[in-house]
C-alpha cells in the first residue's frame, strides 16, 4: 500500500492542513504579531506613557513608529497594546466559547424543555444589541481592568458559538454510536465529552477563532469610545487619544494607522485561518 492505512483518518487532516495556504498565511501573520507582542517591549526601553521624545515626530530610526502629540513613543504603546489585544481575545473569546459549549452541548444533547429554554435565552442575547448593553455596564464600572472587560465581552458574545455547537451536537446525538454509548451505561456528561465533543473538534476550534477575533473587535470599539480599561493600555485607547488630540488635522498618521492596521491584520488572519480550516474539514469547500 502506498501509505500505511492505519493512521488514515489522522494524517488525512494533517495532509490537508499542510497544503492549505490560507491556513498557513493566516497562521504566519498571527505568529508574527504574537512574537512582536512578546519581545516588543524588550526592544524599546521607553515606557508607553513616558514623554520620551519630541512631540509628533514622524517615524525615525530612534522612534520606529514616531511619537505622539505628547512625545510618547508610539511603538512602545503599540506593543503593549498588542499584548492587551491578544489577552482580550484569549479571555473574552475563550469565555464566550466555553459558555457557548456548555449551552450548545446541554441544549443539543438534552433536548426537550431544557433545549427550549436555552434556545429562548440564546435568541434573546442574540437579538439584544449587546454592544449598547456593554456600553452602559462599562460606564457603570468605576474601575475597569482589562480582565473585567474581557469577561464582559465573553458574557455577551457566546450565542454565536452556542448556536453552531447546538446544531452540531443535535446531528451527532442522533448518530448510532451515541446510542451505543448510552447502552453501555455511560453517564451523559461522559458521553458528551468522550463521544460527541472529540468529533466536533473542528467546530470548537473554528468557533474559538471567530470568538477570539470578535472579542478583539468589540474591545477595540469599547476602548475607542473611552469605555476601555482605565488601567493599562490597548490599541483602541491609542486610537481614541489619536483622534481626541487632533492626530487627523495634524496629519500624524503614524499615531492612528499602526493600531488599527494591527487589529485588522490579526482579525483578518484569524478569519483567513478559519476559512482554511473549513476547507480542510469539509471537502465541499475545497476548490476541486
Amino acid at each position: 500500500m502506498a501509505q500505511n492505512p492505519d493512521e488514515k483518518k489522522r494524517n488525512e487532516f494533517l495532509y490537508f492542513a499542510m497544503r492549505n495556504n490560507k491556513l498557513k498565511i493566516g497562521a504566519a501573520i498571527i505568529l508574527f504579531f504574537l512574537v512582536l507582542a512578546a519581545i516588543g517591549p524588550l526592544l524599546t526601553d521607553n515606557e508607553p506613557t513616558a514623554f520620551a521624545g519630541p512631540m509628533s515626530d514622524p517615524p525615525s530610526a530612534e522612534f520606529w513608529f514616531g511619537t505622539t502629540f505628547f512625545g510618547q513613543d508610539v511603538f512602545a504603546q503599540f506593543v503593549v497594546g498588542l499584548r492587551a489585544t491578544f489577552l482580550v481575545g484569549a479571555i473574552g473569546g475563550g469565555l464566550a466559547t466555553v459558555i457557548g459549549m456548555l449551552v450548545g452541548f446541554i441544549a443539543g444533547y438534552r433536548g426537550g424543555i431544557i433545549d427550549e429554554a436555552l434556545n429562548v435565552l440564546t435568541n434573546i442575547v442574540l437579538v439584544i444589541p449587546t454592544f449598547a448593553l456593554l456600553l452602559i455596564i462599562a460606564a457603570y464600572l468605576e474601575v475597569r481592568g482589562l480582565f473585567m472587560e474581557s469577561v464582559l465581552i465573553g458574557l455577551t458574545a457566546w450565542p454565536w458559538a452556542a448556536r453552531a455547537i447546538r446544531a452540531q451536537t443535535l446531528s451527532l446525538r442522533s448518530r448510532e454510536f451515541v446510542d451505543l454509548a448510552r447502552m453501555s451505561a455511560m453517564k451523559p456528561l461522559r458521553i458528551i465529552f468522550t463521544e460527541i465533543a472529540p468529533n466536533m473538534m473542528s467546530y470548537l476550534v473554528m468557533a474559538f477563532i471567530l470568538q477570539f477575533g470578535g472579542a478583539i473587535l468589540i474591545a477595540a470599539t469599547l476602548d475607542f469610545i473611552g469605555l476601555g480599561p482605565t488601567t493599562g493600555f490597548s490599541l483602541g485607547i491609542m486610537m481614541q487619544y489619536a483622534v481626541l488630540w487632533g492626530a487627523l488635522p495634524l496629519g500624524t498618521w503614524w499615531w492612528f494607522v499602526p493600531p488599527g492596521a494591527a487589529i485588522a491584520a490579526i482579525v483578518g488572519a484569524l478569519y483567513f485561518m478559519n476559512v482554511g480550516l473549513d476547507e480542510v474539514f469539509n471537502p465541499k469547500l475545497r476548490e476541486t
Binding site: M1, A2, Q3, E12, Y15, T288
Partner: protein, 320 residues
Amino acid sequence: MSLRVEDLTVYYQTLRGDVRALENATFSLADGEIMGMAGESGCGKTTLSNSLILLTPPMRYIKGRVVLDGQELPVSDIDGMNRYRFKEISVVPQYAMNAMNPTRKIGKMAEELLRSRGIDAHRVLPELKRRLDLVELDQDVLKMYPIELSGGMKQRMVMVLSTLMNPSLLLADEITSALDVSTQKAVAEMLVGFRDHKIVKSIIVITHDISILYQIADSILIMYAGQLAEKGPTETVIHSPRHPYTKLLITSLPKVGAKHDVTQLEGIPGKPPLLLDPPEGCRFRERCPVAFEKCVEVPPFLELDPDHFVACWKEIESNA
C-alpha cells in the same frame, strides 16, 4: 437505437492516487432493451452510468468509446456532451428525492429548464400533463413545491421530467431503493411503461436488488470491483449463471420460503478488493472457489453462448 460501449475506462482521483473504478467496460444494448445493472457497493455501476452522461471531476476519463444511435458521444468533453444530455440521453438520479430545487414551483422549474435548453415550454406543456396522468400524478403538482410531495411522488415527477424530451437512452439509478414495497412495484412497472409507450427507447436500470431486475429487466449485467463479470438474458443469468461470482451471489439471496434450519445459505467469504491498488487479472480470483493460475491474466468478456457474455477463464476453457 443502439448503444455500443467499447473499453470504457474511468478512474476516480483521490489523494492517494487513482481509484480504478471502471476497467475496460465493453457491452452493447439493443433498441427497446431494458438492461439491469447489478453488483455490490463499490463495483462501479454508478461510475459507469455517470460516465455516460456526466463525467465530471473527481471522475477522470482514461479511454474507451461510447456510440449512441451511430453517433459517438464525447463523454470526456463536459460541455460537448450538453448537446446530447436530456435530449438523447437522460438520467433518473440516485438522489431523485431531492433532485428538484426546493424553493421553486415544480412547473416553473420545468419551464425554465426547457427554455434554457432552447425548447418552447408552452408547446411541451400538454405532453407533460399527459405524462403526469400516465404516472398517476395530479396535474396541479406543477403548482406545488417539492417539499409538499411524498417520496414516491417526487420520484415519479423526476422520472417524467427526465424523459420529457423522449431520450433514446434512460439511466435509472437505484430508483426503487428508497421506496416502500408497494410504491416500489408501481414505480418499477411505470419504468417498463415508459419503454412500452415509446417515451424512451431503452433503459439501463442500476440497482443492488437483483430480484427487482428479475421482474422488469430483459437482460442483466453483473459487475464486480470495476470489471464486467457476466451479461445475459435475465432468465439465464438468474437461473443458470456461468460466472462463479454470479452463482454465489444468486445462491446467497434468501428466497421467501427458505428456512435457516432447513437450507443453510452460504455467504461469499472475504470482501471486495480496494480499487486503489486492485489485484492483477480477474479481481474476483482471491474469493473465487474455482480460481486457478490462468486467472492472473484479465479474462476477456466473451460471448460464450448467444447473447451471453462471461469474463472467466474457467468458463472459456470449458466452452472450448
